[in-house]
């Protein structure tokens, strides 16, 4: 069955204010009867080994799996920063290996001014290839994360192309439902007034068969249903692709609603959709 996990950054507002710490996020996921938690390197900067080990034990006690650790990438950084980023990716791979976390989330890279997707492509492939090679040595799979905001890969075609060019079992795909070109949530300044383009769902359809984890973005969920993304459609696409893994709930609507109120709504919405889709699938089979 498709399982739900909570990306800790969803609680960014409460973590930043000191209202919550990472252990509280784990407990929140358990209270919501979720199946996992996902972490980000920026949340673990001050974490020592003992703290990380305590998180692992807590996850076991609460029936949660730590699905992936994410690496933040500055999409506005110049190309000269790539070497430094690769070093940081290596240290995150080491951390994931120590924690027994199987996947490290890595977006590609920003395309600097004056470059095009095509002209910058080889450099991004080389960066990812080096990350994958290091991951292979430590038994950690790099999860290529589709990401817009001036970065590549940002389309379904680009994700598939990069996966095929690198062609390693240690490179897989983390599909972000809100980060393909055409997504309202990934349109920068236009996001409040823009609309979701139909092409978003084509990108999702193109890469769903390659995904081992899906990140379900939530932007506006006050009504109890996500307004900017059609999860009925997305869940159907994932199921049709045979997806059986974790959907990571990633809340990014903090300007509209605090995470403490929004996350339970997001979880319930996904659960409703997953249940509806399951019932429809049973009906189709019978």
């Amino acid at each position: 069955m498709i399982k739900l996990s909570l990306q800790a950054l969803s609680c960014k507002d409460a973590l930043d204010s000191g209202e919550m710490d990472l252990e509280d996020v784990f407990h929140m996921a358990a209270r919501l009867r979720m199946d996992g938690v996902d972490l980000e390197d920026r949340l673990l900067i001050q974490a020592d080994d003992a703290y990380l080990e305590n998180l692992r034990l807590l996850a076991l006690r609460l029936g949660l799996r730590i699905g992936y650790i994410g690496v933040i990438v500055d999409f506005n950084a110049p190309a000269t920063e790539i070497e430094r980023e690769i070093t940081r990716i290596h240290s995150c791979v080491d951390m994931a290996a120590r924690m027994g976390v199987r996947v490290l989330r890595v977006p590609g890279n920003g395309v600097p001014p004056g470059e095009t997707d095509e002209s910058f492509w080889p450099l991004v492939v080389d960066k990812m290839r080096r990350a994958v090679e290091y991951g292979r040595k430590r038994g950690v799979v790099i999860g290529l994360h589709n990401h817009n905001h001036g970065a590549i890969p940002a389309t379904g075609v680009q994700v598939v192309r990069m996966l095929d060019e690198i062609d390693s079992p240690y490179l897989s795909h983390i599909l972000d439902t809100g980060q393909y070109r055409g997504s309202r949530g990934a349109n920068g300044a236009d996001r409040e007034t823009g609309e979701t383009d139909e092409s978003l769902y084509e990108h999702i359809q193109a890469t769903a068969p390659r995904a081992v984890i899906a990140r379900a973005k939530f932007y506006r969920v006050a009504s109890g249903e996500e307004k900017w993304l059609d999860y009925r459609r997305i869940v159907s696409i994932l199921r049709a692709a045979g997806f059986n893994g974790w959907i990571s709930v990633v809340y990014e609507g903090h300007s509209a609603m605090p995470s403490g109120e929004a996350i339970p709504l997001a979880v319930q919405h996904l659960r409703n959709v997953l249940g509806e889709d399951r019932r429809q699938a049973s009906g189709r089979r019978s």
Partner: protein
């Protein structure tokens, strides 16, 4: 939500006949849309790193968690034999650590005929402490499995007593629904009959708050419903303690039904039970 995993021992006869391997178990778990697999140590084709890595990658692609490796140790042995048993656990702790599997299932001790449970207790405790220290050094948790058939701990009180005596975060509990003393599947008397002298549902209730994993035994599932264990009693016990982890399907009714036919029935039944109890 409670998640379902497939224990490879559910196909023990199929393994013996050479008709399935661990990759087949992983495929089967995916076919049944389950959420994890438990790997019994005798089912590994080898401990070659490339093979272990193949298994890891296969589970990731299929959305399955590797819950634990099951080791069948006996800390009721003595002397050199006892040390061999401890080494067996340490060896599989190493495999688990290599694979990033967080837990290894361990038993307690089978009580020799010329000894009492209390006679065996000190060496069970001491050996358990030693292997737990090793597991801690490899960041692997040992999951104590309750087991009857001459083994201890076979009651909820014994599980709690042993866990409290070891008192280590790397020593936890895998609760087996059919292996407490008095269970129809684990009684000394006629198999299939609950022994009323032992309140085995009470044992489940006693150790449930300690469990990080549950093994759901299935003995008679041909009708589509488990006939020997009452999951309408077991599920509320687990719900009451807020259990949110993985529940293994462990089929042990090979004398009634073929394994390939039983696993889908058992999975569908447990899924239905979990849904009925909103778990």
């Amino acid at each position: 939500m409670i998640k379902l995993s497939l224990q490879s021992l559910s196909y023990r006869d199929t393994f013996k006949a050479g008709n399935i391997d661990l990759m087949g178990i992983i495929d089967q778990a995916y076919e049944l849309q389950m959420d994890g697999v438990d790997l019994h140590y005798t089912h590994f084709a080898s401990t070659d790193p490339e093979y272990l890595e193949e298994l890891r990658l296969a589970t990731l692609r299929r959305g399955l968690h590797m819950c634990y490796i099951g080791v069948s140790n006996n800390f009721g042995k003595k002397g050199a034999e006892l040390e061999q048993q401890a080494q067996l656990v340490r060896d599989w702790v190493d495999v688990a650590a290599t694979m990033g599997i967080q837990m290894v299932r361990v038993f307690g001790a089978w009580v020799p005929e010329d000894e009492t449970e209390e006679d065996v207790w000190p060496r069970l405790l001491e050996t358990t402490r030693q292997v737990t220290a090793y597991a801690r050094s490899r960041r692997v948790v040992l999951g104590l499995h309750n087991h009857n058939h001459g083994c201890m701990p076979a009651t909820g009180e014994q599980v709690v007593r042993l866990m409290d005596a070891v008192d280590d975060p790397y020593y936890s509990h895998i609760l087996d629904t059919g292996q407490y003393r008095g269970s129809p599947g684990a009684s000394f008397g006629e198999r299939g009959k609950e022994d009323p002298e032992h309140n085995f549902y009470g044992s489940i209730e006693t150790s449930a708050p300690r469990a990080v994993h549950v093994r759901a035994k299935i003995y008679r599932i041909a009708s589509g419903e488990e006939a020997w264990l009452d999951y309408n009693r077991i599920m509320p016990i687990l719900k009451k303690v807020g259990f949110n982890g993985w529940m293994s399907v462990v089929f042990e009714g090979q004398d009634e039904l073929d394994e390939p036919a039983a696993a889908p029935l058992a999975t569908a039944y447990l899924r239905r039970m979990l849904a009925q109890h909103d778990m």
